[in-house]
């Protein structure tokens, strides 16, 4: 009897220890998140002022802003989305509609999932070999193409998933009134899956707006204002990279402020994207 009781005690104790460790793990994760966001707010907020958004990146040791970097990031992100989204949506459409049971779909899904987590610096090297080397110089358009390649797998994945959630009865109803397949896809399936597809696009924007590695040797960087797509262009992440590693205090402060801007943008996009589909999950 006493051995059974002590066994019971030791099992309970072990359970208590392990569950405490699990709570501790969750605590560590949350504390880490809080530490990062806290440092970012503390160091970044002190540098936020109007001049950050109205002045160009300064020469070393001077005050200035991030206007050209913010502009470059927005331009390249928009082009990347405009190029990448249609390809991603169409590919996702094929996988969920025409080729739902084809072998091609299985292969594309597998490869797409690998592209989804492939190192972004590899994409940078690819675009360097594809565009920068033949053109002979770095350019904003090469940076935008690198970002577009990162957009595609995100959009493919969400589009396919969301179209697969559309009930087949809806498609059958469309077909039953004589609409051809592509009209059913356009007017029924896309409409039903719209919020999900938009979520995917927003997540893709969130993903590329902070990407640095693929821009390092495609768009390079630019100390000055440039709206020429065929020339090197500044971007917020690359500017942060350059400024943070510099020995100048003004530059480091701007790097923190830029980091805060990017993080807030990305967090806002992710939360907004999740709120679009979140309602459905809650039922």
């Amino acid at each position: 009897m006493s051995t059974a009781a002590s066994l019971h005690q030791s099992r309970k104790r072990r359970n208590g220890v392990m569950m405490t460790l699990c709570v501790a793990a969750a605590g560590i994760g949350l504390v880490w998140l809080a530490l990062i966001l806290g440092a970012l707010l503390y160091k970044g907020l002190s540098g936020v002022s109007l001049s950050v958004f109205t002045e160009m990146t300064p020469p070393p040791g001077d005050a200035g802003g991030l206007l050209n970097a913010i502009y470059g990031s927005i331009v390249m992100t928009i082009i990347g989305i405009i190029v990448g989204t249609p390809i991603g949506v169409l590919a996702g459409t094929y996988m969920a509609e025409y080729g739902r049971f084809s072998k091609l779909t299985t292969v594309v899904r597998f490869i797409n999932d690998i592209l989804l987590s492939a190192p972004s610096i590899i994409i940078g090297l690819f675009v360097y070999e594809l565009m920068v080397r033949p053109m002979g110089h770095f350019s904003a358009i090469a940076g935008a193409v690198a970002l577009a390649i990162l957009v595609i797998p995100v959009v493919v994945r969400t589009t396919e998933d969301m179209l697969n959630l559309v009930p087949n009865a809806l498609r059958e109803a469309g077909t039953a009134i004589g609409a051809p397949r592509w009209v059913v896809i356009r007017s029924v399936a896309y409409r039903a899956a719209l919020s999900g597809i938009v979520t995917g696009i927003l997540l893709a924007i969130a993903r590329i707006s902070g990407e640095t590695a693929p821009l390092l040797f495609t768009a390079l960087n630019n100390q000055f204002w440039s709206s020429n797509l065929n020339a090197p262009m500044a971007s917020l992440p690359v500017t942060i990279f350059q400024f943070a590693l510099s020995p100048y205090e003004e530059w480091q402060q701007l790097a923190w402020t830029g980091a805060l801007i990017i993080t807030l943008t990305v967090l806002a996009l992710s939360i907004f994207a999740r709120s679009l589909t979140g309602r459905r999950e809650d039922k």
């Binding site: 359970n15 949350l30 594309v108 397949r181 592509w182």
Partner: protein, 327 residues
Amino acid sequence: MSAVQEALPAVRGSRDATVRRFALTDAIFHAVTRAAAILVLVLLGGVAISLFAGSWQALSTFGFSFVTSESWNPVTEKFGALAPIYGTIITSAIAILIAVPLGIGIAIFLTELCPRPLRRPIGMAVELLAGIPSIIYGIWGLFVLAPFLQTTVQPFIISVFHGIPGLNSLFAGPPYGIGLLTSAMILAIMVLPFITSITKDVFDTVPPVLKESAYGIGCTTWEVTRRVVIPYTRIGIMGGVMLGLGRALGETMAVTFVIGNAHRISTSLFAPATTISATIANEFTEAVGDLYTSSLVALGLILFVITFLILAIARYMLMRIDARTGA
């Protein structure tokens, strides 16, 4: 709807023409979507081919010694990838060692212990952690974590392990703050959300009746987790770990900030080192000479092959879990 309106006049005219027109437009749309899907395959193929073409010069010059040589000398144009490969593998391995227990712990907390109203917010916080760009982790690591490690943690560890053989070379000074261990810690924070959310998702696939029957014979929460949940989801957890490993291996910016970019292999975890991606990020735009550039692309090719294999294994494992729950 619009399709019907479009169709109406045509129906009055000729039904055959309409059917033919519909068939044609449908075939076009089918072909366009199919082409987009094939483009995804072409992209990956293009990446492989361009990396191979770009690295050909370095690989043909150095041959197999490229991956066994430690020297990296742009002046004499002697390049070997051993130091970056070593740094990549060591930092990722340590990161996984830190992140896996934490990630599984958080997943158990979220599925078994967490009060219901808190589940969604905490789960969402973990996923937001995954969305933060890597450069943010880098700047935080460089300005916050590294000075902290340099002034407090590292001197303490060095003094504690000072006289112990083996450990004293693993934790040898001086405390730079930046280096292998700091990079590994940053990587651990970065892959933690991936491992956590996948582990949580596969934990949710365990049929409740399995867990309930274990509870029914008097098992504790830990015993249910250890004997039922984890064995049932083993492949899925492995898939999540491999996915995290793939991320860690290829992670660039966060590591570039805190690795120190030193092309040498040191036994000390506190020593500056380099990884494949950090080397490319640091040196690519400054590389003069075709052989230098080609060697950097060859590093990229090695990274691509390693991550491709790891990610392929990860996806294969996760697909097996999906197949089981789908059946």
